[in-house]
């Protein structure tokens, strides 16, 4: 269990490092080729950060509203609150706000930029189909997302990926409209013909491939954080079988979660968009790892 946790953290760290390196490479080569140097990088970063900060700051309310979640009090469902409060004791975190989504499909998600302002939403289907231990396992998975600051993590990665996309976009435009002018304008470049050409070619390759690669990395990080949330959740309950069994029940359920869409699918414990879930076997573009693999890792603990 501890090994899995350490492994997942290491993997996420390396993936982010790769994204950063990619970003710097793009910043350098594209900047050189298009003539705006590293300024391109800084401006893209600023714009990306600005755009995403809106979703970061107002994010939870938007997501909760879009998912038609309504908040409940302890007396509406004492067991759910007890389960959450027990996890709060085990983790040392404050109890998050609890929401319910009226849908028979079993699923759950967590949102919130830090443990003090976090929320967890659970479908009514989940409440009716899982037993107490399985419900606790799902809640512990969600609280682990909060504990590991995964929302913040995902936002940072979104900023980086957005920066890569913006930068490559700028480059493409400026190269299309004025690359000859760009080269002449960059008075600082004293390199000879062939070197400039190589830089240029690399820049073009990067501007096409980098955004794609960055997205793949982002999905890879998302999958690592899901494994990490599974393992951290098991650390809280010390009962991985409950989560394995809960995942089995959720994956075998045929109901479709109506409020889920492509924008929110990555937040749920199991991808609510059925085709995405079944395709997830070895897909590098999926936000969640394959459920069989998640269950296998849990049972191996």
């Amino acid at each position: 269990m501890y090994q899995q946790i350490a492994q997942n953290r290491r993997n996420s760290f390396f993936l982010i490092l790769i994204i950063l390196i990619l970003l710097l490479l793009c910043g350098y080569f594209i900047g050189e080729a298009a003539g705006f140097g590293l300024w391109g990088l800084f401006i893209s970063l600023a714009v990306s950060a600005l755009l995403i900060s809106f979703s970061f700051l107002g994010g939870d309310k938007a997501v909760l509203a879009a998912s038609l979640a309504h908040s409940i009090e302890k007396k509406d469902n004492p067991q759910l609150f007890n389960v959450a409060e027990e996890m709060s004791i085990a983790s040392g975190l404050p109890v998050p706000k609890i929401y319910i989504i009226d849908d028979t499909a079993p699923n759950a998600f967590a949102c919130g930029r830090n443990p003090e302002s976090a929320s967890i939403a659970v479908t009514s289907g989940l409440l009716s189909k899982l037993n107490r231990d399985e419900l606790q396992a799902v809640i512990s998975h969600e609280m682990s997302h909060i504990k590991n600051y995964d929302i913040l993590y995902a936002t940072l990665i979104a900023v980086l990926v957005g920066t890569v996309a913006l930068l490559c976009d700028f480059a493409w435009r400026s190269m299309r409209y004025g690359f000859i002018g760009g080269r002449r304008r960059s008075s600082g470049s004293s390199s000879s013909g062939p070197a400039v050409l190589i830089v240029f070619v690399i820049a073009i390759l990067l501007s096409i491939l980098a955004p794609l690669f960055a997205q793949m990395l982002r999905f890879a990080v998302s999958r690592q954080r899901e494994y990490l949330a599974d393992a951290s959740g098991a650390q809280l309950t010390r009962y991985p079988e409950a989560l394995a069994s809960a995942l089995e029940k959720i994956s075998q359920d045929k109901e479709v979660l109506e409020v889920a869409n492509r924008a929110t699918q990555h937040l749920y414990i199991v991808n609510p968009i059925k085709p995405f879930e079944t395709r997830a076997q070895n897909n590098i573009f999926s936000t969640h790892p394959p459920i069989e693999e998640r269950i296998r890792r849990l049972r191996q603990m």
């Binding site: 004492p78 067991q79 007890n82 027990e86 085990a90 983790s91 040392g92 107490r132």
Partner: protein, 184 residues
Amino acid sequence: MSVLIILIAVAGILILAVILAYNNLVQLRNRVRNAWSQIDVQLKRRYDLIPNLIETAKGYMQYEKEVLENVTKARSMAMQAQGPAEQAKAENALTQALKSLFAVAERYPDLKANQNMLALQEELTSTENRISFARQHYNDQVMTINTAVESFPTNIIANTFGFKKEQFFEVAEEAERKPVKVQF
């Protein structure tokens, strides 16, 4: 001249590192103490729930006076217990008494269906869980601080400023090691 600057910079970094390590140890130690007191909070919660349980059950279980009395007695003993070993023994006895009560309650369908009783069962199950999670959390915090106190180079700072390894919460007696699966 530049050698002097480098020496001062290095000294500055070292002092900063020591301060950060010290503060981290302080935080870890306080978390351990907090986690310990949280266990008591959950134990008290159980004491408070029990009288309500007795009242609810009494009406239906007129012929089971002994079982009810056992619970009440076990509760007072647990509340008066001194020291961790005695406390652990008394708490275990209380858990056993509660188990007997719920086992007997199975034979009274009216009581089983009673809404109050169901709510109390959920609350008591939750309380037993909370007690174990509180102990688990305490042990996790102890593990964290012990690792910090034992690892290099934090151990130097720990020894200098008197941070000790903390004690795990362990069951003292052999009998208590048997799994107490609380299923009300």
